[in-house]
């Protein structure tokens, strides 16, 4: 178990390095998938099997697929070679990283067990769904519900953002249209079938997802 833990930890770090070092965005996200899987393995070696399964289902199986989906749809897998738009971004990132590492070191040396390890392992009872559910829905009910409302708000927000009025579907550039004031009347006359093919609009390199 100890050996597996160390190996998985090392692999997780390798995946993390690939994530930030890979030039191709798809390779980078595959590195992240590897890291997430290794973290799931770490959970499994710590006897938290429910957490491990959920980690794979939610993060590696759904979230990362959506990441890759967006990368492929936007064709964003090419490396960007322009000058960085944010000044001193590397230096700032270095400072942030150092601060974070320092915080972790402080955390590691001042950490005290809230209760003895044997007692904690006893309470975990193999990390099955039963124990998790019991804890989440009794002691942590309020945070649990708050998080679910937060996620709901995020979903509603995403739908609201996507549902904004579309650019002119008739192929006439916006500036040639009538000025602001009566855009809705204008759209009303556009027949429904007049929209150009989806790929054409996307080809304009504005990188906007419409589907």
């Amino acid at each position: 178990m100890m050996l597996a833990f160390i190996l998985l930890g090392a692999l997780a770090i390798v995946g993390g390095v690939i994530t930030i070092a890979a030039k191709n965005a798809v390779h980078a996200s595959l590195g992240l998938v590897g890291t997430l899987l290794c973290v799931a393995g770490l959970f499994a070696t710590l006897n938290a099997s429910f957490l491990a399964a959920t980690q794979v289902i939610v993060y590696a199986g759904a979230v990362m697929v959506l990441f890759l989906f967006v990368i492929m749809l936007l064709n964003a897998n090419q490396p960007v070679t322009e000058r960085d738009p944010v000044p001193y971004v590397r230096e700032l990132a270095g400072i942030g990283g150092t601060l974070l590492a320092g915080a972790f070191v402080v955390l590691a040396f001042t950490f005290k067990d809230p209760r003895p390890l044997a007692e904690g392992a006893e309470a975990l009872r193999g990390g099955s769904a039963l124990v998790m559910g019991e804890t989440l829905l009794t002691r942590f009910l309020l945070p649990f519900e708050a998080v679910s409302i937060l996620l709901l708000v995020a979903i509603v927000g995403a739908v609201a953002l996507v549902q904004r009025p579309a650019a002119q579907p008739d192929g006439v550039p916006d500036e040639l249209e009538e000025p602001v004031g009566a855009p809705q009347e204008e759209r009303r006359q556009v027949p429904r079938g007049a929209a150009p093919a989806l790929m054409q609009t996307r080809g304009a390199q504005d990188g906007e997802v419409r589907a």
Binding site: N24, H27, L30, F50, I57, V65, L66, L68, Q184, A195
Partner: protein, 385 residues
């Protein structure tokens, strides 16, 4: 030989046997499928290689191994090779957790490769990783149709994963454990789960068809629209690996449905009167049940036409997902308020749900058949369908 080494070797042996069994089933499944489809379409099907075409799988295997393995210039070499391996690896791993008999019944060994407390969750996790094979294969091919197929299939599989997971929640609430052994044991005492969760089973069956990319949900490889989808640029053994993954996923889905809803490796109890102990024989009952579901897969393929892509999405999001949620709510409410009543009433409610769905199918069909028509004068908005 130390104890742990013996356990390890036996586990390895069992894993190899499972893989061999699955691959043999895959090979003959292709033949049976082609023959059966032929029968259903009033033609003989492949019957030239060997007696009754029985050597056809061998011929196919030799052909796909010795064909030239093409790689497109624009392909991403690493991911292109990795994709079929991921697909088949996840498909083969998922099967090992399913129990095929009582403990210690297979020459004194347990008839399963690994046993996890989180059995059903682990299986869902492994099958959800299977998306990567198709998805990455489509992208790494570096050409247009594969990427369209890959995008389609990942959207499809993610959408139906939700319905699949949710349709099992009612079952998990009734049984109260996620391990396959617990579920099979519960069914041995209380009767097969299909009696109490018929609505959940119907939803799970539909989602399984979508997850395994079978007709009527075989959008990822709709040859009339996108050549062969993510498979377009693949050839020889890599192509065969993808095919294997698809069929192994089908076998796993059949085994999961048998285990969760039809009593798993347990045979019918009344046969014990004829031959004592026959319902506890390992392997045989699970294989019989798997064979039934595999036949169902073929039968449906010969019967139903393919859905259009927008119909597929609406079907998943407007029908399967809400119904799975409703099933969860129904079961939860029943379990909370039933007092000391038996489970049979839940079974009646569930069956009534399925029947209502069948009777009202003409009303329900508009949910996914008609594109949502905007009222005249409504603003055209981005997004939507």
């Amino acid at each position: 030989m130390p104890d742990w080494l013996a356990t390890l070797l036996i586990s390895l042996l069992k894993a190899v046997l499972v893989v061999l069994g699955l691959l043999t089933t895959f090979a003959y499944m292709t033949l049976i499928e082609r023959r059966l489809l032929g029968r259903m379409q009033l033609r003989p099907g492949p019957n030239r290689v060997g007696p009754m075409g029985l050597l056809q799988p061998a011929a196919d295997a030799i052909k796909s191994i010795f064909k030239e393995d093409l790689t497109v210039t624009l392909a991403d070499k690493l991911v292109y090779t990795l994709a079929p391996i991921v697909a088949i690896g996840m498909a083969l791993t998922a099967f090992g957790g399913l129990p095929a008999g009582p403990a210690g019944s297979l020459f004194g060994e347990n008839p399963w490769v690994y046993n996890l407390d989180t059995g059903i969750l682990a299986l869902l996790a492994l099958t959800s990783m299977g998306v990567y094979g198709i998805f990455l294969g489509g992208w790494a091919s570096g050409s247009k149709y594969p990427i369209l197929g890959g995008l389609r299939s990942s959207a499809q599989m993610i959408s139906y994963e939700l319905g699949m997971g949710l349709s099992l929640l009612g079952l998990l609430m009734i049984v109260g454990t996620t391990s396959f052994h617990g579920i099979v044991g519960w069914q041995a005492q209380n009767g097969p789960m299909i009696l109490f969760q018929s609505l959940g089973f119907v939803l799970f069956l539909i989602s399984s068809f979508a997850e395994t990319n079978r007709t009527p949900f075989d959008l990822p490889e709709a040859e009339q629209e996108i050549v062969a989808g993510y498979l377009t640029e693949y050839s020889a053994i890599k192509w065969a690996l993808f095919q294997m993954a698809e069929y192994v996923n089908m076998i796993t889905a059949s085994a999961v449905m048998s285990t969760l809803f039809f009593g798993g490796w347990k045979g019918p109890q009344f046969l014990n009167a004829l031959i004592p102990g026959i319902s506890d024989w390992p392997l045989i009952w699970l294989i019989v049940k798997i064979a039934f579901f595999l036949f169902l897969f073929i039968w449906v393929r010969a019967t139903l036409p393919r859905l259009r892509y927008d119909q597929l999405m609406r079907f998943g999001w407007k029908l399967v997902l809400p119904l799975a949620l409703a099933n969860t709510m129904l079961t939860a409410a029943f379990l909370a308020f039933r007092g000391s009543g038996g489970l049979w009433f839940l079974g009646v409610l569930s069956l009534a749900g399925v029947l209502a769905l069948l009777v009202l199918s003409d009303r329900v069909r508009t949910l996914w058949n008609q594109p949502s028509i905007r009222p005249e004068g409504d603003i055209v908005r981005a997004g939507g369908d």
